[in-house]
Amino acid sequence: MNVVAKDWVAIGDLTDIPRQGARVVKTDAGCIAVFRTVNDEVYALDDRCPHKGGPLSNGIVHGSSVTCPLHNWVFDLATGLAQGADEGAVLTTPAKVEGGKILLAVDALASRAAG
């Protein structure tokens, strides 16, 4: 697939997501959870917990982490790594805010859908 590196696409406004909350973006590569922290940073992670598939978009967001709603694993939003005693990682997709819009790096998604 010949996608240009860092091909960004707007998915909506920052204000579409409540602070310390998340929304889902449906893609061909599965659902992506887009998080907004209390400081208005945004992060995008696969919406599937590596433990038993819990929808991370439904978890509680605290600092730059999210706690999975099913069995309380905690993930770092920036790296996707499980924290504490648990081991596992969630795939992340680069995300940024520009002019109040949230952008996702679709090339990362597309290559995953292909792979």
Partner: protein
């Protein structure tokens, strides 16, 4: 890759540890199924004596709670004694008819208490001491007072005797041998121990041979007759004379069983796919009755289950008696013999006796009484077969004297080598603990227990672990500190609740600022708790912070394992109608809902609903008059009722009507943990009111109000709050009680735990006796209901929190290109 199936028979301490080892190495290698004859999860059997004496509760000694099994995907069949194993077909079947197939089987049936075949051994009131049921029977007996006779002056017998004494019974210990604990103690230490027990008012009789247990004429114990003809009156007899490995099941399968189930060094029985583990095992001619060797076996099996080649080589054991105030430690072999020397230290005024037995300049046995801090150090020298000739002169004074000047205890612990064993039960050495403290940033005893298991079994090394914490962390460790709410603060729940009131803190950021939270905006533990405290304390002023609520409370439905939701509408008091049922049927068809179920709370659950469909489902339900059943809330859940005077020939009051009134009055209210009620129409109690958070049992003369029951993770009958005569009074008392709990409970603390903390008497005093107080609570509840009784479903149908239910965007890759 399909997982292999592992079946474990017996859910005692040994297999519990084995599973921890197994999951540490590989979480996913096996699908595990456990059968347990006992009706409960894995708990710390060593701690039964503190439960008996009242120093701990069952909750305190649970090792793996239900959540643990859920989290690890382990199927636990409780109350399921395995009676058949088909080694050809590789299946296991329990007496209650559950069958499971295995690739590998672990038999861990523990041991059975030995019952002396005395006349009268089957009388009511003859007990053994092995599991929680035995403890409960002893406690029940103790509630009636009288005398208990304990047969057996060994470890278990003495722990039982001390516990029963603390429960208020008169106690006699009968011991066949001339001195107590003769297998672990030499006669001198045995004598000191006997004196100590006598000082506590326990009647100890050695060289006492029981002849017969006497019948009171009604099939119950009346006392005991000894061989010398004398008789002692008693209401219970506890037999603690030893254990027998439980090998009958294994024998019936044709496995080799001698005293215990025979295993080779790899812990396999004569069938290579069947392991045996724990007290039921015989290895190298030895059967063990202490956990340390069993945990070593557990490690070996865990490794071999994963294709390893570990071997168990037998163990040396050390014993400690867990009776508060008695310090006693023994290890190794201390019989006298020609080729042995001994070193003895006695300090009569301090009640200290220490004896070391040496052979070829090595310690082979140690008995310590009155002062046992050096036990692990001696045991370490013993196990390592260290040559002690260099320190012979000062050896008996202990480790602290080895460098010249005596050390303080912390310095002594600091001076231990890294491989010195701190926790004998779990075989944890100093280096492991210190590393964990540094690497994982541990700050307290609970942390150390969670990460290393040290001090997590019999607890006698707790002091050593605390000194290690001091030695490693210095002043950063404060053992008296209250359990903080979470990692973001040092304050406990009680302090936070008090300060919110005292400083009039009304938002989460305000609390965090004023109470000096160490994180910028809290965590998933403290935010829901703070949100509740603020809702409860400032019902009119506080704006609920939805992002601080767990998903279920945010979307007003219960999340399921596949990320779909379940919806439970209220059915007031369990009553419904054809119209309601028809509306539910229509919703189920319209939204293609895969499952409909009657809940344990007398209402209907629709399961497997897609999140996007929730508002639609609610809109339709709302049209039929339904509101949310709050089956997800830390708040009022169900009010179960029975049919009462409306229909039942025994009903004494309108239990259905009162249940509905209570539910309509109280729905929507938030509480520290969930709150479930029930009203039964007569003492037959068909609504099971006596295991609820709050229950009412109707009687001819009015209403008996109950509270603080539990029937979930714990089972506990209710306490009686008191009796009232009218329905209005019943409602007022129940509501006032609920409000008192709302104001004082810690987040996630069920009413029975709160009551235990506050004291049932105090609660009765405030609600039953203090009319002004009751009125204040009642009014406060009514006030807060003004803001709480808003149906969350209809709010969302009209658009609130829309974002929760719709994806933000739908991206197709083609579109992106």
């Amino acid at each position: 890759m399909t997982k292999q199936k592992l079946v474990v028979i017996g859910n005692g301490m040994a297999p519990g540890r084995m599973l921890e080892f197994l999951f540490e190495k590989d979480r996913d290698a096996y699908d595990v199924t456990i059968f347990n004859a006992e009706p409960r999860v894995n708990y710390n059997r060593l701690m039964l004596s503190p439960v008996l004496s009242g120093e701990k509760t069952y909750e305190d000694i649970i090792t793996h709670d239900d959540q643990w099994y859920a989290d690890h995907g382990v199927t636990l069949h409780k109350s399921a004694r395995v009676s058949e194993v088909d080694r050809e077909a590789k299946t296991v079947t329990s007496e209650n008819g559950i069958t499971a197939a295995y690739d590998k089987l672990v038999i861990a049936t523990g041991s059975n208490p030995f019952i002396i075949p005395l006349p009268g051994k089957d009388l009511e009131g003859v007990l053994t001491y092995r599991d929680l049921d035995d403890v409960e029977k002893m406690k029940d007996a103790a509630a009636h007072g009288g005398r208990a006779i304990v047969i057996g002056g060994g470890l278990l017998g003495l722990e039982a005797a001390a516990g029963l004494k603390m429960q208020g019974m008169e106690v006699t210990v009968l011991h066949l041998m001339p001195t107590l604990m003769e297998r672990q103690l030499d006669p001198a230490a045995g004598y000191l121990l006997e004196e100590e027990f006598k000082r506590r008012g326990i009647d100890v009789r050695t060289k006492a041979n029981s002849h017969e247990i006497l019948d009171n004429g009604a099939g119950k114990v009346a006392g005991i007759k000894l061989d010398d003809g004398s008789e002692i009156e008693a209401s219970i007899v506890v037999m603690a004379v030893g254990i027998r490995p439980s090998g009958d099941l294994a024998k019936s399968l044709g496995l080799e069983v001698n005293r215990g189930i025979m295993v080779s060094d790899d812990m396999r029985t004569s069938d290579a796919d069947v392991f045996a583990l724990g007290e039921c095992v015989e290895h190298g001619g030895m059967c063990y009755g202490l956990v340390a060797p069993l945990y070593e076996m557990a490690g070996v099996i865990a490794d071999n289950l994963l294709g390893g080649r570990s071997e168990y080589k037998g163990s040396v054991t050390a014993t400690k008696l867990k009776v508060t105030g008695v310090d006693l430690y023994s290890a190794g072999d201390f019989a006298e013999a020609e080729d042995r020397e001994e070193i003895v230290l006695r300090d009569a005024s301090a009640g200290v006796y220490k004896r070391l037995v040496l052979k070829d300049n090595k310690i082979i046995g140690a008995v310590l009484y009155g002062e046992t801090a050096d036990g692990p150090w001696f045991f370490d020298l013993l196990k390592k077969e260290t040559d002690v000739s260099e320190m012979r002169e000062t050896l008996i004074f202990g480790q602290a004297y080895q460098g010249g000047a005596p050390l303080d205890p912390t310095a002594a612990v600091a001076a231990l080598p890294d491989d010195a064993e701190i926790c004998g039960c779990n075989g944890v050495c100093k280096g492991t603990i210190v590393n964990a403290i540094h690497e994982k940033g541990l700050t307290g005893l609970d942390d150390v227990r969670a990460h290393t298991k040290a001090s997590a079994s019999c607890g006698t090394c707790t002091g050593l672990v605390e000194q290690l914490l001091v030695a490693t962390l210095g002043d950063a460790y404060d053992p008296t500190a209250v359990q903080p709410m979470c990692g973001c603060t040092d304050l406990g729940h009680g302090d936070v609740r008090r300060l919110i009131k005292a400083k009039e803190l009304k938002t989460i950021p305000e609390v965090m600022q004023e109470l000096e939270w160490t994180s910028s905006c809290g965590c998933a533990k403290c935010r829901p708790a703070l949100n509740y405290y603020l809702v409860a304390d400032w019902p009119d002023e506080y704006a609920d912070d939805y992002q601080s609520r767990f998903i279920n409370e945010r979307v007003h439905a219960n999340i399921q394992k596949d990320g779909t939701y379940s919806v439970v509408p209220r059915m007031w008091g369990g009553m419904t109608s054809s119209k309601e049922l028809r509306a539910i049927a229509d919703v189920v068809d319209k939204y293609d809902i895969p499952a409909v179920k009657c809940t344990g709370g007398q209402r209907i659950d629709m399961l497997g609903i897609k999140k996007e469909d929730l508002p639609g489902v609610w809109a339709d339900l709302g049209e039929a008059g339904f509101v949310s059943g709050q089956a997800y809330a830390k708040g009022l859940r169900t009010v179960k009722t029975c049919v009462g005077t409306d229909w039942c020939r025994f009903g004494t009051q309108d239990s259905t009507g009162l249940g509905i009134k209570l539910e309509k009055f109280m729905w929507g209210s938030w509480t520290p943990a969930k709150l479930k009620l029930a009203v039964s129409g007569c003492p037959r109690n068909c609504a099971e009111a006596t295991c609820k958070d709050i229950g009412i049992v109707c009687v001819d003369s009015g209403y008996e109000i109950h509270f603080a029951g539990a029937a979930g993770l714990d089972i506990k009958g209710t306490e009686i709050l008191g009796n009232v005569t009218t329905e209005e009074e019943a409602l007022e008392h129940v509501v006032a009680l609920a409000q008192m709990y709302r104001e004082q409970g810690f987040y996630l603390e069920r009413i029975y735990k709160w009551a235990k903390r506050i004291g049932v008497e105090e609660i009765r005093r405030q609600i039953m006796d203090d009319a002004a107080m009751r009125k204040r609570y009642f009014d406060a509840f009514v006030f807060s209901q003004k803001f709480a009784q808003v149906d969350p479903w209809s709010e969302r149908v009209s658009g609130k929190d829309k974002h929760e239910f719709k994806p933000m965007a739908i991206l197709s890759m083609e579109a992106a290109e």
